[in-house]
């Protein structure tokens, strides 16, 4: 689905006359390979280059160096812009940047309408998408009357309605309450399982990483670690160096281990920790 070879992205800072003041190398040689249908999490501290990477995947930005293929399309080629954006939908952190219509259902229908989907089909897609994010009862509301989390769910529905092959969520659950976050993640997970949509979840929330098949840790524009969530979370020190952390359950497991309690290594979820403790009892 996505193949990146040594991509580099540089932001060029210019002064008022347009002379180059400095170059920030935000992505510094990223290579990765994402298969269709995979659920990928990308984690890293603020400023590590996660969002820049995501914007490259959607051709909002193009790599300064290196090559990037999305769904078999080379992102260097201008001609591919719209094809790439149709196959990879993006949900941003702040829904206000993404919502454009004055009625919820029109906003969700905007994407498919632009793709030339027949009208009846658009309505069905809108309904399915709003159902998937549990916002159907707000279909005739104005988005600016909704709360932050509700708006975010509308934004996700807008992407879903385009039936993309890949959805990139750029910290899209940050503004949601626990239930909303769980629902969104379950929705995303279900889309991944049932429809085989490739998911790229960019997040700061370590609890969300558990859902992924594979995790990439970014630091200073490089991928410093990659592996399954289980592998990533065994290395607490390395994560802390990247200003990240462990999920709560694993922190508790480590604390107990320090006290000499023999808890199995390589746990991932709260359920596994509970089972491990019960076995000792």
């Amino acid at each position: 689905m996505i193949k990146a070879e040594n991509i580099v992205y540089e932001y060029i800072r210019r002064d008022e006359e347009g002379n180059v003041e400095g170059i920030d190398r935000v992505l510094d040689g990223i290579s990765l390979d994402v298969q269709t249908g995979e659920f990928i999490a990308v984690i890293g501290h603020n400023g590590s280059g996660k969002s820049t990477f995501a914007r490259n995947l959607n051709r909002l930005l193009t790599p300064t160096e290196g090559s990037l293929w999305i769904d078999g399309l080379n992102s260097d080629d201008m001609e591919n812009t719209w094809k790439i954006r149709q196959s990879t939908g993006m949900v941003f952190q702040n829904p206000d940047n993404q919502i454009i219509s004055s009625v919820v259902e029109e906003d969700v229908g905007f994407g498919p309408e632009n793709m030339g989907v027949p009208t009846d089909d658009i309505w069905k897609r809108v309904e399915d998408a709003l159902n998937a994010v549990d916002m159907i009862k707000y279909r005739s509301y104005s988005p600016n009357k909704l709360s932050g989390g509700q708006k975010q769910r509308v934004a996700i529905a807008g992407v879903l309605a385009m039936h993309p092959k890949c959805i990139i969520l750029d910290e899209a659950t940050a503004m949601l309450d626990p239930q909303g976050r769980l629902e969104t993640l379950q929705t995303v997970k279900a889309l991944n399982k049932m429809e085989k949509i490739t998911i790229i979840l960019i997040t700061q929330d370590m609890e969300e990483v558990i859902y992924a098949d594979k995790v990439f840790v970014m630091d200073h524009g490089k991928i410093t670690m990659s592996g399954t969530p289980r592998e990533i979370f065994t290395n607490e020190e390395a994560l802390k160096e990247c200003q990240l952390d462990l999920p709560q359950a694993l922190k508790l497991a480590n604390e107990l281990r320090k006290e000499g309690i023999d808890i199995t290594e390589g746990l991932l979820t709260a359920e596994e920790l509970v089972d491990a403790i019960c076995q000792l009892y």
């Binding site: 009357k145 309450d177 976050r181 700061q204 604390e255 509970v274 403790i277």
Partner: protein
């Protein structure tokens, strides 16, 4: 010194048939020096309530008393209220605008008509307390990292020396270390300045770690107003309204469900560790 909310309700989008209430008959009292956490699902009225506290939104029913005075009396000085009740909005870094960090932080106190010396002293103090390194003071705020920008924006509010500090999701979108850093700083400042802090958050883990008293909002109503321990003992009620208990508390519940007789009234990792050790040894 106290804030009293007396039967506050807030109506919006009134047409001939429907009336929506963002807040319904909220009565509460905030004493000096309290650290209150506000939780509720998205759209439960948290942000509206916060804006009522500093007079930005006028309630359609009920009164707000600050130090015994009704803030919506005709001759009340709302200007003074807003300098004493500091508000940090969601994504406060979007409000940065000045050419240097230091000037940006000076903007608030400058508008309060203080002398130059007072303004600069207060700005230095606020930047220092938020842990901004002095070499950043004369840089553009836009060149800082996300976490630094957020801290500068909070310093801008602190520089006005508020007696009550309201923070609407101050840690959203930050990496785990940045988040901890900001919340630790807020707790330190609260202790040093002995001000009242009201923290709105969707993270039950943060609420459990930092505040003393919790308000739970559901559909515009204040349904629970109690200590952290008390609030998080209502696991089922919280889940019904789209919230959750902290991860750690839910692990304790899972242990209990498996037949391990543990105290579930535990909210932090340390407490959980002690409780599990007590059981296992």
């Amino acid at each position: 010194m106290s804030i009293i909310l007396d039967k506050i309700s807030c109506k919006y989008e009134t047409d001939m048939i429907n009336e929506h209430y963002a807040l319904k008959c909220i009565t509460a009292k905030i004493e000096d020096g309290e650290f209150i956490g506000v939780i509720g699902h998205t759209g439960s009225g948290k942000s509206t309530l916060m804006q009522i506290l500093n007079g930005l939104v006028v309630p359609s029913g009920g009164s707000v008393y600050y130090n015994g005075e009704d803030i919506h009396e005709k001759n009340y000085n709302l200007y003074k209220l807003r300098s004493e009740v500091g508000m940090v909005f969601q994504y406060p870094e979007h409000q940065l605008f000045e050419t240097t960090v230091f000037r940006d932080v000076c903007f608030g106190p400058k508008n309060l008509g203080w002398s130059k010396k007072e303004i600069e002293l207060s700005a230095f103090e606020a930047l220092f307390q938020m842990g901004i390194e002095s070499e950043l003071y004369y840089q553009s705020p836009f060149d800082l990292s996300g976490g630094q920008k957020r801290r500068v924006a909070i310093a801008g509010v602190l520089a006005m020396k508020p007696k009550v500090l309201i923070l609407d999701e101050p840690a959203v979108g930050l990496d785990p270390m940045g988040k901890r850093n900001i919340l630790d700083k807020i707790a330190e400042i609260k202790a040093e300045r002995n001000c009242t802090v009201i923290l709105v958050s969707h993270s039950m883990d943060d609420i459990a770690d930092y505040v003393n008293r919790v308000w739970v909002l559901d559909d515009g109503k204040l349904i629970i107003d109690a200590s952290v321990k008390e609030v998080f003992s209502h696991k089922r009620d919280l889940e019904e309204i789209g919230l959750a208990v902290p991860q750690i508390t839910s692990i304790m519940h899972m242990l209990k469900d498996k037949g391990l007789v543990v105290n579930t009234n535990v909210t932090t990792i340390d407490e959980a560790k002690m409780e599990i050790l007590r059981k296992l040894r």
